[in-house]
Amino acid sequence: MNLFDILGPIMVGPSSSHTAGAVRMGSMARALLGQPPVRAQLLLHGSFASTGEGHGTHQALIAGLLGMTPDDERVPDSFALAKEHGLKFIFDTVNLRDVHPNSALIRLEGADGSKIEVAASSLGGGRIRVFQIDGLSCSFSGELPTLVVHNTDQPGCVSQVTGVLARRGLNVATLQLNRDGRGESAVMVIESDHVIFPGAVDEIRALPGILRVTRYTPEGMEEER
């Protein structure tokens, strides 16, 4: 805990969990798609579903999908901006069972047809946790630079990816790996202490067995490199 956990964040109201966290969930989903979404389906769970309207949760999620941060004064106008940017979206409710009450399942599609499904929760104070990508469990907050690698479940994938990071001097803070079944697709989530720059992403993308590589850089860390 530091002073700026007590004072701040600067955010568009009314709620750090239902508004600021929702913006972050949207921008995380956009980052994991790796491109601006053109189509989105947003399924709201629990308190997001029941009180989201009064909290601007819907506008906040769409603002995040457009790449806004929680302090962007355009958050309340995100629906109009989505129209300008060619983003079509629909909202519905869902029961995700035993998850945090402030959760949503976000399905996105990019202009080139690539798709992703991200399930995340807003934990309070604007902090979030992604707990599922494309149906595979994971757990990360986006507070550290994060690399998400979709790969085929085959020997050597992890060591090749971490090898690239090691050669480029990027320290791995945490690593998670989950798969559908033996030999099928897997998702690797790597949190690093350093911003994962595009060169490293391109190099990993070129490795055998790698299906997709996306990265998330926390707000305020972009200028580091």
Partner: protein, 288 residues
């Protein structure tokens, strides 16, 4: 990383350092965070600027999505122009608290202090104070260090979350941060700041979190007013040499205990208190 886990320790450490309290809080924090003094100061100045900008962004005609909030800040400002019950300074404080609470409800950009629901308390006392007593921006930034230093100890010993500790943890904490900040601006001692913090907490101890419809609007917006008035009265008592009989750290521990004892329905669930009134039913969360 927690820098101080008790008010007693914060005061003792400050005494030994020979630094003013705000400076000791600043130095302890930037060292713990491994950032520079300039980075910390610029971030804190950014928060103050955002508070000022938010206050200026208020429009009396704005309404929240639910229709529950909007216009009260404008009404209070209008009233403050005439002969008021509380006089010009307190009327300005009240108007400021309402404006910021309504800005938050209407999706304007605000500074959570310590939470979004309680974002009106600190700016409501600091901005009119600066106008009334001519405090500089530097002094206001110092006051924010004092406020956040006390806030850290409150968060560590008790809570700054309504879901955890009820409204006493949100508006109560905001008032308990604003009170020592005011004592600092008036040139009071660190001991007076600690007593101001404690008295502000005591006066809102047990305040429940019972938002209508589960929304950060009713009673949150107007509770920013009582938070600001609580801070002013606690600061004035401390400056007059009045002390909290119960030692300040024990007051914070009592706040934690009260928070734990509050029933679930009175901790931000929107199921008890004002949220359970017949009026509130039309705003009740949708059944999913």
């Amino acid at each position: 990383m927690i820098t101080f886990d008790s008010l007693e320790q914060m005061l003792l450490d400050t005494k030994q350092s020979g630094l003013p309290l705000w400076e000791n809080i600043l130095q302890s924090d930037y060292r713990a965070q491994n950032i520079t003094r300039e980075q910390s100061l610029s971030k804190m100045t950014g928060l103050l600027d955002a508070m000022i900008h938010a206050d200026e962004s208020y429009r009396a005609e704005d309404r929240s999505a639910s229709g529950l909030s909007g216009g009260a800040g404008g009404r209070m400002s209008d009233y403050a122009k005439g002969e008021t019950l509380c006089g010009p300074f307190l009327s300005e404080v009240m108007a400021g608290a309402l404006r910021m609470g309504e800005c938050n409800a209407c999706m304007k950009r605000i500074v959570a202090a310590p939470t979004a629901g309680a974002c009106g308390v600190l700016p409501a006392v600091l901005l009119p104070y600066a106008r009334q007593f001519g405090a500089s921006k530097e002094q206001l930034v110092q006051a924010l260090y004092v406020a956040s230093g006390f806030g850290m100890v409150i968060a560590h010993r008790a809570s700054i979350s309504g879901a955890e500790g009820g409204c006493q943890a949100e508006i109560g904490s905001a008032a308990a941060m604003a009170a020592p900040a005011l004592v600092h601006l008036q040139g009071g001692t660190p001991e007076q700041m600690a007593h101001a913090c404690a008295m502000a907490v005591k006066n809102l101890l047990g305040l429940v979190c019972d938002p209508v419809g589960g929304l950060v609007e009713v009673p949150c917006v107007k509770r920013n007013v009582i938070g600001a008035m609580d801070a002013l009265s606690a600061a004035q008592m401390a400056l007059a040499g009045i002390e909290s009989r119960v030692p300040p750290d024990q007051v914070l521990d009592a706040m934690a205990e009260v928070g734990r004892s509050l029933p679930h329905i009175l901790r931000e669930t929107g199921k008890g208190g004002l949220a359970a009134t017949p009026f509130a039913q039309q705003y009740a969360p949708k059944e999913i």
